[in-house]
């Protein structure tokens, strides 16, 4: 992998996976996007006050015997709260996924695979209680992960829908961060072994799938110490 230097401070930038497109310089907090040959400085990140979160870039964990390491993250705010999404580099690909996500909200931890594309549909078509239409081929792909999703449309019912804004970035991410962009996220009813969320985008929608586990199940290592705990 090509080495890049921070255009701001000259320190070496970390791109540890080909999926990573952007990174925050560890030394000067510059937000940098990489293109094929060059890199672009797009801003400066404020350090997120996040003393209560035991997860950090560098935390290792396990999902179904496959190890992963957190290499970046994004914080999303909506008007009723916030959540954190951690970008995971997997020790080996799973479910045709080269990377994963760990979504973290109010003490709930969801491991999610690389999302699958859904046809673009406007989020305004949907509300809590309505069911996301999933094309047969996507449903088949999801069925490979869990057969519980094959004949069960109730899993695709929306239980929670909110629009969020990305407010903080840390480490590497698979896209160029954009604080202006609003993301509409629908949480689906899911099944006992599969967590489903849909992200509405301008050109396409994406369905994330994975599993909710207890904190202990991930066997985390290299956690950040939470003061007083």
């Amino acid at each position: 992998m090509k080495d890049f230097l921070c255009p701001q401070c000259g320190a070496g930038l970390k791109f540890t996976t080909s999926y990573a497109v952007s990174t925050v310089c560890e030394f000067c907090q510059s937000l940098v996007v990489r293109h094929d040959l060059n890199i672009e400085l797009i801003g400066k990140e404020a350090i997120l006050q996040d003393d209560l979160n035991p997860l950090q870039v560098g935390t290792r964990g396990l999902f179904q015997k496959t190890g992963f390491v957190i290499i970046g993250g994004v914080r999303l705010n909506h008007h009723e709260g916030f959540w954190q999404e951690w970008f995971l580099q997997l020790d080996s690909p799973m479910q045709n996924s080269g990377y994963g996500w760990l979504a973290q909200a109010q003490g709930e931890y969801q491991f999610l695979f690389e999302p699958l594309d859904l046809p673009a549909e406007s989020a305004s078509k949907y509300s809590v209680g309505s069911t996301i239409s999933v094309p047969q081929d996507i449903r088949k792909k999801l069925g490979k992960w869990s057969s519980s999703l094959l004949g069960d449309s109730s899993a695709f019912k929306i239980t929670d829908m909110r629009t969020a804004q990305m407010t903080h970035f840390v480490g590497q991410l698979p896209w160029a961060p954009d604080k202006e962009r609003q993301r509409t996220i629908a949480e689906l009813a899911s099944t006992e072994d599969t967590k489903l969320t849909v992200e509405f985008g301008s050109s396409k929608n994406q369905i994330y799938y994975g599993q909710v586990l207890n904190f202990e199940d991930f066997k985390f290592q290299n956690l950040k110490e939470v003061k007083g705990w």
């Binding site: 009723e80 709260g81 003490g107 909110r162 006992e192 599969t194 207890n214 705990w229």
Partner: protein, 416 residues
């Protein structure tokens, strides 16, 4: 990260202990509910009527169910009419997240959000989660009346949600629903001793009233014994009827004699065989007595050894009319059970005595392979007492449990 803010309502200081996580908090001085999500603090609810006091001290740390918990929030909630109130404590641990400790009528529940929505069967009023089925117990609006402390969501006082409670003791599966979201949670009934110990509430515990929706039946421990006794009953029945089939009753002697006019001579019967079959021997005497009696003294003689076994057997029967109508007393037949006699060839020597006028004949019958129905019924009824007792008590408990539900499977709920 602890954050100190100034209450925009009363100007007093407010400390938010978990400022990164908490979206709202309550000013301890004026009880205004504040939104702390943004840099600027805003007022969500200007004032609240203080109508309850938490019994668990907020801001303290306790160990419960294997984790340390800071008790950070307190809510008083009620049904739509505000007649039925309960309290909820919000517990926080930065690693494992949030839990609720709910106290209703002195009964405690430890509540966690579920990992996925439960599947609802709205026809049968059931919900399924993690392969367990729960039955609808209550459905209705829930109001938040009063809050203290800090919360990971924006608390609105007098906020109303629709709540559905499904039970499968000791668990309760609940759905809270509003226009924006559906939240499923699962509560586990906690014995009050556990709460008392973990949260150091000795002497402060509220009295537990009635039966909680998901309170485990105290008769569950008795269930094993009741099942065990029931199988024992089945075994007794099986053995008894098995015996009945394997060892049929057989008459080995029967004869009718003219009643001799005096007490002698003795009647000597024809010989008959007694086998070594299981079951006892029964003798039966029948005589057409009317307002009188017939008494016999019987000598059973084993013909080879000369061994004698003697017993008495009689019948008496009286009848008549009085002011109450007809009456009768006694019987013309009598049975006598004889302990097992050794196998062999026997004859009987029968001596008779009677009241005047004597009946003209009497019949004597001997059978073997008889079963004791008395023993059987004695054992059966003695044994069945316990399962019946268990069943009545267990059912009574369930009736009490369901007495507060609109979905009770016990029709008698309307009697109370």
């Amino acid at each position: 990260m602890v954050k100190a803010i100034t209450c925009p309502s009363c100007g007093g200081p407010v400390t938010v202990k978990y400022a990164e996580q908490s979206l709202s908090c309550v000013c301890p001085a004026c009880l205004a509910v504040l939104s702390t999500a943004n840099e600027s603090v805003s007022i969500l609810v200007k004032s609240q009527l203080k109508n309850a006091k938490p019994i668990i001290t907020l801001g303290q740390r306790y160990n419960f169910r294997g984790h340390d918990w800071d008790v950070i929030g307190y809510l008083v909630r009620s049904d739509k009419t505000e007649t039925y109130k309960w309290s909820e404590y919000l517990l926080f641990n930065p690693y494992v997240g949030y839990r609720f400790l709910v106290c209703m009528d002195g009964h405690w529940n430890y509540v966690t959000k579920t990992k996925s929505a439960a599947k609802v069967d709205s026809i049968l009023n059931r919900a399924t989660y993690l392969d367990k089925t729960y039955t609808l117990f209550h459905k209705g609006q829930v109001k938040t009346l009063f809050v203290l402390g800090e919360f990971y969501w924006r608390v609105k006082a007098n906020e109303v949600v629709m709540a559905f409670d499904y039970i499968n003791p000791p668990e309760m599966l609940s759905l809270e629903q509003d226009a924006d979201e559906e939240i499923w949670s699962i509560g586990e009934y906690v014995p009050k001793r556990d709460v008392e110990k973990a949260f150091k509430l000795v002497g402060k515990m509220p009295l537990d009233l009635g039966v909680a929706p998901n309170q485990p039946s105290p008769h569950n421990q008795d269930k094993t014994l009741a099942t065990y006794v029931s199988s024992l009953i089945a075994l007794v029945v099986l053995v008894h009827f098995g015996f009945l089939v394997a060892v049929p009753k057989r008459n080995i002697f029967e004869a009718t004699y003219s009643v001799p006019l005096s007490t002698s001579p003795t009647i000597t019967t024809a010989p008959f065989e007694i086998s070594d079959k299981a079951g006892y021997i029964e003798t039966e005497l029948f005589a057409e007595v009317n307002n009188g009696w017939l008494e016999t003294t019987v000598e059973a003689v084993e013909e080879n050894t000369g061994e004698e076994y003697e017993f008495d057997q009689g019948v008496e029967y009286y009848s008549g009319y009085d002011s109450d109508g007809s009456w009768s007393e006694g019987s013309r037949t009598s049975d006598r059970r004889i302990a097992k006699l050794p196998a062999g060839k026997y004859h009987l020597n029968i001596t008779t005595a009677w009241s005047y006028p004597s009946p003209s004949t009497f019949t004597f019958r001997v059978s073997e392979g008889n079963l004791s129905w008395g023993n059987f019924f004695f054992a059966f009824f003695l044994l069945i007492l316990y399962p019946i007792y268990y069943f009545m008590r267990a059912k009574n408990f369930e009736k009490n449990r369901w007495s507060t539900s609109d979905y009770s499977p016990y029709w008698s709920q309307h009697d109370d």
